[in-house]
């Protein structure tokens, strides 16, 4: 199989080397090997409990690996927590923000925490608009936002941070088709800026549409990897179901 490194000709931004995670007697992730180069969108597919979120949590350093390494730009997450997080942006399934603050204030806060405190309010407003938020919504309290609007603030946080890699944990779950489509367009825009994207999703259509590669996981193992250029929507669904029935 052609690796991302060889395909893109870059050092992988995200790399898992024999990455494993046990919760007690349960092996949530089993010796995952994975590389994602700049400009790649890697979609992890699989049922609940397949290890998708665990993989993302390991790259974020939210949980410690039981074995192997999670590397960001060649740096081990376990020993370079701060440096690796500077290069990462994360959008969870539900982007939860400070409800009493506006979208702009939330962005200001998280951008500053991400090390982009010098970005002015005007630029941040532009970023929110770029992320798809209406200009007249940026100063409204987040408590008035829909889930789609909060996801857009999440994207704006990632854009403002100018992260090298983006970790998305089922980001379109619960979004209406239009919002999902807008979200995919934003991810595509980031991909074109050479951002490496790792997206965990249940949405086969979105994975085929947005991803450059797809990995199917089951019981903590990566059972197959596919290039989205080489398969159609129907193929992906068939292959996915085949693996689920084994």
């Amino acid at each position: 199989m052609q690796t991302a490194e060889s395909r893109a000709g870059h050092t992988p931004l995200l790399e898992a080397r024999g990455l494993s995670k046990d919760y007690g007697d349960t092996r949530a992730l089993d010796s995952l090997d994975l590389t994602i180069a700049p400009g790649e969108v890697y979609c992890l597919l699989g049922p609940n409990g397949a290890g998708k979120t665990t993989t993302i949590n390991l790259f974020l350093g939210f949980v410690a690996p039981s074995g192997g390494q999670a590397l960001v730009s060649g740096l081990d997450v376990a020993t370079h927590d701060r440096e690796t997080k500077q290069r990462l942006a994360y959008i969870p399934e539900q982007v939860m923000l400070y409800r009493n603050l506006s979208g702009l204030e939330n962005l200001e806060y998280f951008a500053a925490l991400g090390g982009r405190g010098s970005v002015g309010r005007e630029r941040l407003t532009e970023i929110l608009v770029e992320a798809g938020l209406e200009r007249d919504s940026v100063d409204r309290r987040v408590s008035e936002y829909s889930k789609g609007m909060r996801q857009k603030v999440g994207i704006a946080i990632a854009i403002a941070k100018e992260a090298d890699a983006l970790l998305l944990d089922e980001p379109t779950s619960g979004l209406d088709p239009k919002a999902s489509n807008e979200f995919s367009a934003l991810v595509e825009r980031l991909r074109k800026r050479d951002v490496a994207v790792l997206m965990a999703t249940h949405d086969l259509f979105r994975a085929k549409d947005t991803g450059t590669r797809v990995g199917i996981m089951r019981y903590g193992r990566l059972v197959t990897e596919l290039s989205t250029d080489e398969i159609g929507h129907a193929d992906l669904e068939r292959i996915y179901l085949e693996h689920m029935h084994d």
């Binding site: 350093g61 969870p92 400070y98 603050l101």
Partner: protein, 476 residues
Amino acid sequence: MTARTVLRNEWRLLMADRALRIVLGLFAALLVYALANGVVWLRFQERTVEAVESGNGERTSALQQELDAIANGGQPSSPFADPRSPLVLGGPSGSHTAALEPGSLTALAVGQSDLLPYYYDVNIYTNESSFQQNGEVENPLNLMVGRFDLAFVVVYLLPLLVLALSFNVLSEEREQGTLALTLSQPVSARSVVAAKLAFRAFLVVGMVLAMSLLGVLATGGFDSPGRVLLWCAAVVTYSLFWFVLAAWVNTLRRSSAWNATVLVGAWLVLVVVLPAAINIAAGLLHPLPSRVEMITAQRDASNDAVNRRSELLARYLEDHPEMAEGVVADEPGLGALAWAATDAVNRRLEEVTSEHDARRADQIVLVRRYRFLSPALLAQDVLIDAAGTGDARFAHFQSQVRAFAEQWREFFVPAILADEQMTASVLPNVPKFRLADEEPGDATRRAAVPLTVLGGLVLLVGMGAGVGLGRVRGAD
């Protein structure tokens, strides 16, 4: 950078939260009320001390005038209050009132100053029972619960505000889902929580210290900078204890509701139950002798002494041989006999009061030993001591009054026994009370241990919180 960012965000969250603003406003109002209450009490004490001191001067000049008038052939205003008699001049009519100036920070902490006497009328009849009485009548409810002063607000209410602001400092982030997004940034939970707590501490402690310094400024307490520093140190350390306790409870990864329950429980135990239990234990283990018993003993001794005055005088002279030769007339006068009776009563009272004092000392020892169980008791101890309204300063004052009373007796008793006639010329030589207040470092020395223990608790719980926060990850 993280700290500044979090501080700014916390400020925005505060400004956006009406309920929180109301709570802080209410606390500020309570601080103002507490300070006003303390200032009212301070002014009352100042007026009393001023009146007492001018009373001393007025009594002396009235006696001077009367003695001058008598020397010029006049008659005493009353045959029973002839100022020429040392029993009268050294007795209640000519007494000197010894007063304790209010502590420099009394406006901040009324402390024991409404409970313990801060002035005594000293005369030849001053005895141990005099030290057991407070000349003022105060609302017993005030005495029982203490006045609503800044020390009360600090010890009892400040922890509640700290807990209200901090019980969910981390759990809320987890519950509302912002923790994951926060910790996906290159920051640690420790630095974020520390900055959030620093903001709250800055608000709460800042308000208390600002009000304290305002009170000190308004009442001239800056004459004792050491005491002001001690007060501030106690406020900061005690507040920090509650902040780090809240932080530590937050690291246990339970819900905000659970945190609130545990922290309020801790407040109840440490601030209310333990101090009350220690006081009750002190009362049960070392009960004070009944005051009725003391008064009965005083009456019995008086009756007995009146009946045996001659015998008592002989015994007195046996005990005081320096008075025997040439001082007492061969036929002792009424004054000498009366004094012998008075002295016998005093001795009997000393037996009763010494037991009372010993029990009280035992109670204090017990409370001092077990105060280390409660940060509230430690803080209260330091705050009151810093204010100059604690036990120690009163004991220091009382010991000087005892010495002064002894000096007073030594001046008048020989004249009483010798049945001498006093003239105006003795007035300048009559002893005057001069208070030697505590040294500036005395309160600091006493506060060193409780403050160190309190600081140790802060470090201990803070370290626990720090370790716990170090384990917090976004996926919690």
